[in-house]
């Protein structure tokens, strides 16, 4: 199969390096390698909902032009927030000819975007094209007994038409975790907001939200919280660091990317195990090298 272009996003090149590295490794292992979109620009971070604010769509639209230049028809995002922004802008410029013409006229140094590029999240690719059965077949070190909370946050599942799963009772992360052999812990906070970029200006507010999510997972027995978003990962880990074991009544769940758990279940030793995840693996006798084939 031809490699699919993926959009890393700024965080994956900086604070969320393990997300990118583990994602590339597991997709390689599944025989569906991803190639980095050449000359990508920031997604724009938040899709502007104002219909006349096309200026803030240029950054995303430029990435669609870059995808078109590769000859591909799809762009896979890893970060939930990038995914959400890119997909909302793609929906706009794919469907609204006037908006597309205006953006094209502004980007007069680029080839015209012709529309028709689909933005996917990596989890969609895994669910719909690889399938959970194939993922399960690739597992050679099942995550027996490890209780994992499937935390979705907002941008992966909202709004309707953009989200990759229903926002009421999403199942995509659960399906993946089951294929990996983990025990899935559901909480009422699985699709609650982590506080998002409020962490910058309203840390108290973001910490309040993030702590509730971590506590909900912890009290239901989760030892790991899995996420697809660098900002969720950051906020939840910040809450763990700020409130610690006292607020959580014992060891705090490790907040990791879904691809990091996949790498462990696939026995990909070149992928570094997150520091806070190692004790969990040790406790379940899933040490870094033990059991790998």
């Amino acid at each position: 199969m031809d490699p699919i272009a993926y959009f890393p996003g700024c965080s994956l090149k900086d604070s969320a390096r393990p997300f990118e590295l583990s994602a590339l490794a597991v997709m390689e292992a599944l025989g569906l390698p991803l190639i980095e979109l050449p000359r990508w620009t920031c997604c724009g971070t938040v899709a502007s909902l104002a219909t006349d604010d096309l200026m803030h769509h240029v950054s995303s639209a430029r990435n669609l032009v870059r995808t078109q230049e590769t000859g591909g028809k799809e762009l896979v995002a890893l970060c939930s927030m990038c995914f959400n922004t890119l997909k909302q802008v793609a929906a706009r410029v794919n469907g609204d000819v006037d908006a597309r013409d205006k953006v094209n006229a502004f980007m007069d140094e680029e080839e015209d975007y012709e529309g028709g590029i689909d933005v996917l999240h990596l989890l969609e690719l895994l669910r719909d094209r690889v399938g959970w059965d194939a993922v399960e077949e690739r597992v050679n070190r099942p995550l027996f007994d490890v209780p994992v909370s499937a935390y979705y946050g907002c941008t992966l599942v909202r709004p309707k038409g953009v989200g990759i799963d229903g926002s009421d009772a999403p199942s995509v992360l659960g399906g993946l975790l089951e294929a990996l052999g983990a025990s899935v812990i559901a909480t009422p906070f699985d699709t609650e907001c982590c506080g998002s970029y409020q962490i910058v200006d309203r840390r108290d507010l973001a910490m309040d939200r993030a702590l509730r999510i971590v506590v909900a997972a912890k009290t239901r027995g989760a030892e790991v919280i899995v996420t697809s978003c660098p900002l969720c990962q950051h906020n939840l880990e910040q809450a763990v660091g700020e409130f610690g074991e006292e607020a959580l009544n014992g060891a705090a769940p490790a907040v990791v990317y879904f691809t990091e758990l996949m790498a462990i279940a696939f026995g990909l030793e070149q992928v570094e195990v997150p520091a806070r995840l190692q004790p969990v693996l040790d406790a379940h006798r899933l040490g870094a090298t033990e059991g790998a084939t």
Partner: protein
């Protein structure tokens, strides 16, 4: 056939001048009577002091150039933008941790980039300015250095940026930081410094200091430029 030399009509700040055809914008402005106290430097396209904005007749776009490099064209309207008021951050290179995104910390307006690419269009050096801003956003120091290496600090990118980014100052910081933290130490520099400390050039320098003005002028006129460039090749 007239013996009159060919002329070109240009508009400097809205006023028409007939200037000799085929000269640079800078020469044309001097021909028209402008005298540069600032806004001109090396006159060779390296110093970045003579940023110029012009528009060709009937074109919807502004064009950007260095006045000392760009030839006049019939009907162009131009003005100079030789200086960009853009603050440069204070920093001590040795105190910075290049593994953190210090570029974003020192120039937070980087995050305001909407990838409009106006900076790239304004660059008289044809650098991919937006691409290096995007690289800076994600902390990719090496890429910023690579893409901004030929920057001459004219400042036109910062003048045009709708997000008020100080591209050229940020990139200069990136190159300096990369120089002290990531690029290999140049062996020949250490060697030369040792030679200097050991006094290898003292006699030659003393002789130059003692030389008369006439003697210095003669030595300057006789210097062999080709030979020295062969030696360095």
């Amino acid at each position: 056939m007239s013996d009159e030399p060919a002329t070109t009509r240009i508009f400097i700040m809205g006023k028409a001048y007939d200037v000799p055809a085929g000269v640079t914008i800078m020469d044309a402005m001097e021909y028209a009577g402008y005298r540069f106290v600032r806004g001109a430097g090396c006159r060779s396209g390296f110093c970045g002091a003579c940023g110029t904005v012009y528009r060709k007749e009937g074109d919807y776009r502004l064009e950007f150039a260095l006045a000392c490099q760009e030839m006049v064209e019939d009907g162009i309207h131009l003005t100079q933008l030789p200086f960009t008021p853009a603050p440069r951050e204070d920093y001590v290179l040795e105190d910075l941790d290049p593994t953190e995104n210090v570029l974003l910390q020192h120039y937070p307006e980087l995050a305001r980039c909407v990838a409009c690419n106006t900076c790239t269009k304004a660059c008289p050096q044809d650098l991919e300015v937006m691409d290096y801003i995007q690289a800076a956003l994600r902390g990719d120091l090496a890429r910023v250095v690579e893409l901004s290496f030929d920057c001459i600090q004219c400042g036109l990118c910062a003048m045009r940026c709708p997000a008020d980014i100080k591209h050229y100052h940020m990139a200069q910081m990136a190159r300096r930081l990369y120089g002290v933290s990531a690029s290999p130490a140049p062996g020949h520099l250490a060697e030369r410094l040792q030679e200097m400390e050991a006094g290898r050039y003292e006699d030659e320098l003393d002789a130059l200091v003692a030389a008369s003005t006439e003697e210095l002028k003669a030595r300057y006129a006789e210097r062999d430029i080709e030979k020295s460039s062969e030696e360095s090749a």
